[in-house]
């Protein structure tokens, strides 16, 4: 097993090798038009140990809506796999995806949105 897949499995608890690339996750995903690769393609890269997947926008566009998770015929929690890709980056302590000090119009945003983004995008 490659190191990337091992790490994703450790964090997500999901056997990424169970994915047989049917694309059901990508077909149901309502955010693909904002992604650079499709969710099933991200899983294919993990299976191959291709770390370029960590530099893609796709895991950061995933909003954890769980439509893919509910529909995966292999029972994979695809949203958890996307979270693992984010976590691998976030846990590198010098990595900064978003700077919470640079939130525009912070007084206009509800607290729930700010806490949610902080929970997902920071260590």
């Amino acid at each position: 097993m490659n190191e990337l897949a091992k790490r994703v499995i450790e964090i997500s608890g999901q056997n990424v090798y169970a994915c047989y690339q049917c694309g059901c996750c990508s077909a149901g995903c309502m955010f693909t038009e904002k992604m650079d690769i499709l969710p099933n393609q991200a899983i294919a890269l993990i299976q191959r140990g291709d770390e370029s997947v960590l530099e893609k926008e796709t895991p950061w566009i995933c909003a954890s809506c769980f439509v893919c998770t509910v529909r995966c015929p292999r029972g994979l929690d695809v949203a958890a796999i996307m979270e693992a890709l984010r976590e691998i980056k976030i846990r590198r302590r010098d990595f900064v995806k978003v700077d919470l000090r640079k939130i525009k119009e912070i007084e206009r945003l509800p607290q729930i949105a700010i806490t949610a983004v902080a929970q997902k995008f920071t260590w």
Binding site: I11, S12, K34, A63, C65, V98, P110, I112, T115, Q119
Partner: protein, 292 residues
């Protein structure tokens, strides 16, 4: 009936109308929502990293504090009105019920509180209202919202994921609980295919374009089915859909309110609806009973 209530941050800060109408509607139905003392933020999104329990601790602390009060209550439940709070508390509780190792880890880490014993259940306010009975609610209606076309927007957190069992409050692909509730107050539910789709969640902070893309589709779909109003169970969905409304031309906009605000209107308690929204809702009703 007395039952413990987890209000969550949004109901205390940005959306007091959601808390006030939840409490008032329940009181009208003979249910007293008792706020959990010393509750803390749930974290909004359930952490999907299975190798760490850190992000679950806020929810666990609230459940521990809920448990201290449980003997004074009429059911061993924690009720949440906010979808996100419901989802996080529910998932954390289910995880601790199923995973003894994680329960031990959490309990050994939180050493300033009694151990958590997962013998309570987390329920959403909609489920509590269903338990009270939609017929019972119907019998308490003083102002039926006859003819008002209501689009029930569920979003994600009430319905997904499907596993572990118990998270969805209804069928995850085709829920009807909110429509049934709306029928009980005389309104006319309109079905629309985007009712279980995602509003874009926290992307509103750094990628509002994503939220606008989602909101336009959801609102446009509800509008095409003739909705006068969209009801929501989630402060973040409501905020995001309202952001979408701002980006749409006026003839396509559909006001978004909390489901409890329509219940309040029908049951004759203060709905805390903005004047212009209330006017539009009452115009949607064919039979208007004059009275607040």
């Amino acid at each position: 009936m007395k039952v413990l209530f987890y209000p969550g941050c949004s109901l205390k800060s940005n959306y007091p109308e959601f808390e006030k109408t939840s409490i008032e509607v329940c009181r009208k139905l003979g249910v007293e929502l008792v706020e959990i003392p010393k509750w803390t933020c749930c974290g909004v999104n359930f952490s999907l990293a299975t190798d760490s329990v850190m992000r679950h601790l806020g929810a666990v602390r609230s459940l521990i504090n809920a448990r201290k009060e449980m003997n004074e209550m009429d059911r061993r439940s924690v009720v949440a009105a906010c979808s996100m709070c419901y989802n996080v508390l529910k998932r954390v509780n289910l995880m601790l019920k199923e995973d003894r190792d994680k329960l031990d880890t959490v309990n050994s880490f939180i050493d300033d509180e009694p151990d958590y014993v997962p013998d309570v259940e987390v329920v959403h306010l909609l489920t509590l209202l269903k338990d009270v009975g939609f017929e019972e609610i119907e019998s308490k209606v003083v102002r039926p919202l006859k003819g008002l076309k209501v689009a029930s927007y569920y979003g994600c957190a009430l319905l997904r994921p499907k596993k572990p069992e118990g998270i969805p409050i209804d069928d995850p692909e085709s829920p009807t609980i909110m429509e049934d509730l709306m029928r009980s107050i005389g309104a006319e539910p309109v079905d629309f295919p985007f009712k279980t789709e995602c509003c874009g969640n926290y992307h509103v902070v750094f990628r509002p374009d994503i939220v606008e893309m989602r909101a336009e589709k959801i609102i446009g779909s509800a509008k095409s089915r003739g909705a006068d109003v969209i009801v929501s169970t989630c402060p973040l969905c409501l905020y995001n859909l309202e952001r979408g409304n701002e980006a749409l031309s006026e003839d396509i906009r559909v006001p978004v309110v909390f489901f409890t605000q329509l219940l309040a209107l029908a049951l004759g308690v203060d709905s805390y609806l903005k004047d212009e929204v209330k006017k539009r809702i009452l115009e949607g009703c064919k039979e208007v009973v004059a009275e607040t």
